[in-house]
Point group: C2
Chain length 431, copies 2
């Protein structure tokens, strides 16, 4: 498709949504992407840039001329410009900032002064406000007079004389009320505001928990500086989820458009940690070389005990990590959840112990092997259930993201306990 | 707190958001919950019921009197009533339906006739519409005359004479335009509509991808039957994520409020499948009993090869499953991603092969053991990378949810290949 035919490309891109053009650019090979961008030029507008994955955004921006970039930036709201600019190198940031009008430039520089992942970075500066004493009629007349209203807005924010947000009114309410109605009499109960340096994950949680559509952001003195809308909160929620899933699996912050070397570099450390824990488990096994060389059946069966423990541990851990993320697991029910996981581990352990007692006895014709694996199974599944919930709770208490480190700890515990229980018991019974 | 003091409970619940009251009810012990609900009575309003987890919602509803339930239902929009009612038993559904007004009852029964997890279940019937030829002034006058407008609405939907939605106008646009402006001249480009039987996951994806705020839903004839708003889409996205995370970890559809027996029942099947695959791996090991009894060091080292393969496989699988869910991995880039994962697996395999060659040789004073584990490591990490992406792609092709089954397949492959490569090679070299 991308062999020089500008007219056909225009015809192709014209009806597409910016998000879909961005997806297309993400999915093609790097060379093709470069050619596409060169050819498409001004078809790559601000919307497309703000939809595109940050890993390849830099590459796309480098391919654009500075005029194309400036045009693209000028059509965006301040929060989208910030989102694009924050991932660029210093000198490229400078180039983008130069392309902006003075007013926008100041707004963007201000936003960049807030910490990364804060409400300040997420908000847009364009707000629609009204003094507390206005009526519906005042507001409508005022809005009709404005010509630079934000593209999307859902509330009119009421501010006091010191520019502090006190409440808001939905546009629907304004439109369905008589002109003489005071705004103060039709405000929404759902009103919530955020401080400029609040963590974006907490903001997204509040949007989801309280069904917010938009919410004002205030500076340290409580003055209105911007507004966050639900689509930004939804995007943050989506990113947080991805981060959790990836961290649980020991994958860093990566995307499909990363190169082979980048993903090797990002996954290597996780595999390195896993190697250390695997060696630790091997050291435990090596303590029992005597019984292993005497009864080779043990070497055959021991991975089963470890594998079942690892799986059961991962099950409870995933539930616990997710519940911590959604704030369903708190100090007030932690004890009940720990007790429940311990009971469930014990119960599942007993069920699978019966199964393995038969399998082990029949396979190797030695009932004692069945007994050993059955007992080890009960012990390991109990420990798996307990560590699956205690490890994330402990990490959370020490301020470490449970999604990041729980997996390694839990499987280390279940491997070590599994091998130790199985081989240790075997030494006592079979030697 | 919950020892009979109704006044204090009222004082406590009054300022709380419904979502927080629901969380509180979820976190207490079942007996306490019952007492709380009995005491709180009418404080448990419709909002609280619709926020509460479905697993304990039934329990709470049973504790309420039928009048309290009826009061609670009457204040909700139709989509929330549907959401509550769809998880109840038949006769309890009947009781709730009886509590509704005739009009609402018909609306709810209609919604229940759509398939589960469809746009029809998600939408609310309350819509704000205008004929295509109206002006801004007509619309404002019309809205002022209405007294049963939905609690939240963001667009006025334009419909043709056959009641088919053709576009929409944001309230912000209406308010900032002169009264004589025709609605048709200020419609939004972002307009998208959904059919009543579309899968809710697809709807949520479109909301997130195209930054929709609300979207009309049509029946098979293209007529407007309801509207979906972004907060419902956000809730669906959240549920889908939870489902993916849980399925990847082999946890069914469970929550913290489930009892021990319920979670044992839900986790047992996954552990059972894992047991079968673990036994399969043991069968592979048992093929090499000769070499294992000759060289006990192999039994010590073999879990390392399997564990590294399992981890590397889980890494690529998680990235692939997530990319399939967000539709970033498609037919057009599948081949490139497979190649990339294979290369990354090979590269990481070589790096860890060098490490293990040293560890193996030094630990057991036998260079050949180092060579064997190094080669097995390369083979297994290459296979892990490949299977991590090919397994989810294949499952997706056959219409099976990749999150559901990939984990088991991938670790089976890496266990079997890991043990086979390591012990097979050892038989050739060391015996």
């Amino acid at each position: 498709v991308a062999e020089g035919d500008k007219a056909r490309l225009t015809a192709l891109f014209e009806p597409m949504h910016a998000a879909d053009i961005a997806d297309l650019l993400e999915q093609v090979e790097p060379d093709e992407r470069r050619q596409l961008v060169l050819l498409a030029g001004s078809l790559i507008d601000g919307e497309v840039l703000s939809e595109i994955n940050e890993d390849i955004r830099e590459e796309v921006i480098e391919t654009l001329t500075s005029e194309q970039l400036a045009d693209a930036m000028r059509e965006l709201e301040s929060d989208d410009v910030v989102d694009i600019i924050e991932d660029l190198d210093e000198d490229r940031q400078e180039a983008v900032l130069d392309a902006l009008d003075m007013v926008d430039r100041i707004a963007v520089e201000q936003a960049l002064s807030y910490p990364e992942y804060s409400a300040g970075r997420l908000m847009q500066r364009e707000v629609v406000i009204a003094p507390e004493h206005w009526t519906v009629g005042d507001t409508i007349d005022h809005l009709r007079g404005q010509d630079d209203l934000p593209e999307q807005f859902y509330h009119v924010i009421l501010v006091d004389p010191r520019h502090r947000p006190v409440s808001y009114v939905t546009l629907g309410r304004i439109m369905s009320s008589p002109r003489t109605t005071p705004l103060a009499s039709i405000t929404e109960e759902s009103f919530r505001k955020f401080e400029v340096d609040e963590y974006e994950g907490d903001v997204a949680y509040a949007f989801n928990q309280y069904h917010l559509i938009s919410a004002p952001v205030t500076d340290a003195d409580g003055r209105l500086v911007g507004v966050i809308t639900i689509d930004d909160a939804m995007a943050v929620l989506d990113e947080e989820h991805e981060e959790d899933v990836f961290r649980l699996a020991g994958v860093g912050d990566e995307s499909l458009s990363n190169s082979t070397f980048e993903i090797v570099r990002r996954r290597f450390p996780w595999l390195g940690v896993n190697l250390l824990t695997a060696i630790l488990a091997s050291v435990v096994i090596s303590l029992f070389e005597d019984v292993l060389s005497a009864v080779v059946a043990l070497a055959v069966l021991m991975p089963i005990v470890a594998s079942m423990g690892g799986n059961a541990g991962t099950q409870s851990m995933t539930v616990a990590v997710r519940a911590l993320a959604t704030r369903d697991l708190t100090g007030s029910n932690a004890w009940r959840v720990v007790r429940r996981e311990a009971m469930a581990g014990l119960l599942n352990g007993c069920l699978f112990a019966v199964v393995m007692a038969f399998v082990g006895s029949i396979w190797f014709g030695e009932p004692l092997i069945g007994v050993v694996i059955a007992v080890a199974m009960v012990v390991n599944l109990l420990v798996a259930g307990l560590s699956g919930v205690l490890v994330p709770l402990t990490l959370e208490r020490f301020g470490i993201d449970p999604a990041l480190a729980s997996g390694t700890f839990v499987t280390t515990v279940t491997d070590v306990v599994g091998f130790f229980a199985f081989l240790g018991l075997a030494s006592l019974v079979l030697l």
